[in-house]
């Protein structure tokens, strides 16, 4: 196995949690975000589609969901930046007897609201939501979603039938949104007891009925913290905004080279600002014209501007997957993304200029940013 290095973050540092097809990496930089130190690889050989940081209740806990091709997927955590990881005797996230399902992969690890510091959410494949009320020690399958009458009709996308997005409403403890490929968005306003599809206006180009109640291949959804009714959605064809918490969706693919893509990020303080990485669809799924371009809107999707300074604009056939882009909460906001070719790019000025943080990583499948 490869030698593993570690980073030692200090208070105020920015962390990048990078999941790849061959393990996880933890990067740190001070708030200038100019120089990055790299720790890892952790779980070498395992695909790490999900990582998360829980800084609530004085924790400095990093979560990861490595999936070994041989030994299955496990939810693991570290409180010392990777020097020691939990390795539970019994899988922490697993389907209960009688569910008739086996865990394939962990796709999302999300801390709950600030006022609920012991609540955690986990999205998995086959598509299901698990919830912990004891800071991740024990997990329970959300039966309301699992028993939803539409679930048997959900279909796997290219990545599998995955629950990849979890959005607890920042203010309303009963409200939560999730997204599944390929099922679309589901909403609950009773803390997960019942769920309803929330896909009005979202196109399903690959179905005979282009606007079904459910079945859309939603790739990623984000929600504004300060204005939770504002959401953006990158679809499998289609780029959307909602101003009513996901009740209705309006196409905002205005001036982008392609409305296909995977990730979307929202500014932590400006609900009119978001970033995407358009890809040429559908068979190619690489950056159009060999140009690696991040597009940013500052007017809620009325227009999008290419942000290319420092990014390769020739022969750059890159793919950025749904969870491989993240923003931090500094001012100016840092934006980060990784590619299937193992490159990791960052911007410390909201996308105006970019630099290469790492090159030669295994294929990057997830990037999360946090501040210690």
């Amino acid at each position: 196995m490869p030698a593993t290095s570690h980073v030692t973050p200090r208070r105020g540092d920015v962390l990048l949690l990078v999941g790849t097809m061959k393990g996880a990496f933890i990067l740190r930089a001070n708030e200038s975000r100019k120089k990055w130190e790299v720790g890892g690889p952790y779980f070498p050989g395992s695909a790490v589609y999900a990582m998360g940081y829980d800084g609530r209740a004085r924790r400095h806990r990093i979560w990861a969901g490595p999936a070994s091709m041989h030994w299955g997927a496990q939810l693991r955590s570290t409180d010392d930046y990777g020097r020691k990881w939990t390795n539970p005797e019994r899988a922490a996230v697993k389907f209960p007897e009688g569910a008739g399902a086996a865990l394939e992969r962990i796709w999302q690890i999300v801390p709950g609201r600030q006022k609920e510091p012991d609540t955690m959410y986990c999205g998995v494949e086959p598509a299901a939501l698990f919830v912990s009320r004891d800071a991740g020690q024990t997990w329970v399958l959300n039966e309301g979603l699992w028993n939803h009458p539409q679930r048997p009709k959900w279909q796997p996308g290219g990545g599998g039938l995955c629950l990849h997005t979890i959005l607890p409403h920042p203010a309303d403890p009963k409200s939560i949104r999730i997204a599944v490929s390929t099922a679309g968005i589901y909403a609950s306003d009773d803390d997960g007891a019942t769920w309803r599809p929330s896909n009005d206006g979202i196109r399903a180009q690959f179905l005979p009925d282009k606007y079904p109640e459910f079945g859309q291949c939603v790739h990623k959804v984000v929600q504004a913290k300060q204005k939770p009714e504002r959401m953006y959605l990158q679809n499998h064809w289609g780029l959307y905004r909602s101003d009513d918490g996901g009740g209705n969706w309006t196409d905002v693919a205005n001036g982008v080279p392609s409305d296909f893509g995977f990730p979307i990020c929202i500014h932590p303080n400006d609900p009119d600002c978001a970033w995407i990485v358009p890809l040429e669809s559908d068979g190619f799924r690489c950056t159009p014209e060999g140009k690696l371009r991040v597009y940013r809107t500052r007017d809620a999707g009325k227009s999008w501007k290419a942000m290319t300074k420092g990014l390769p604009q020739k022969g750059a056939y890159e793919t950025v997957l749904r969870d491989a882009m993240a923003v931090d909460a500094l001012d100016p906001v840092g934006v980060y993304f990784g590619t299937r070719n193992g490159k990791l790019f960052g911007s410390a000025d909201e996308g105006k200029s970019w630099s290469t943080i790492a090159d030669g990583l295994p294929p990057v499948v997830s990037v999360k940013a946090a501040r210690v």
Binding site: G45, S68, M69, H70, W71, G72, N87, P88, E89, R90, A91, K94, F95, P96, E97, A99, G100, A101, A102, L103
Partner: protein
Amino acid sequence: MAFTVVMPGPLRELARNRGEVRVAGAARSVSDALALLWKECPAVRDRVLTELGEVRPHVNIFVDGEAIRDAGGLATPVRDGAEIFILPAVSGG
């Protein structure tokens, strides 16, 4: 009766760093043998079997040199003194 389970490298830490685990008890099949092994090494179970009780797709189990996939699966008989290997399949990318 007793049998020996040879543990793969990645799971030895979960078997108290043992490469071989000697298990005593009556086991007529691989399923019985594994049930006894889980009592001795409970953390190994979820790494070898799925929640459905099936051997993970990329894990191979051999009884006295024969792959159980080519025999009777988890119902493959186990004799007194048998040697059971748990091994990762040749897979990856």
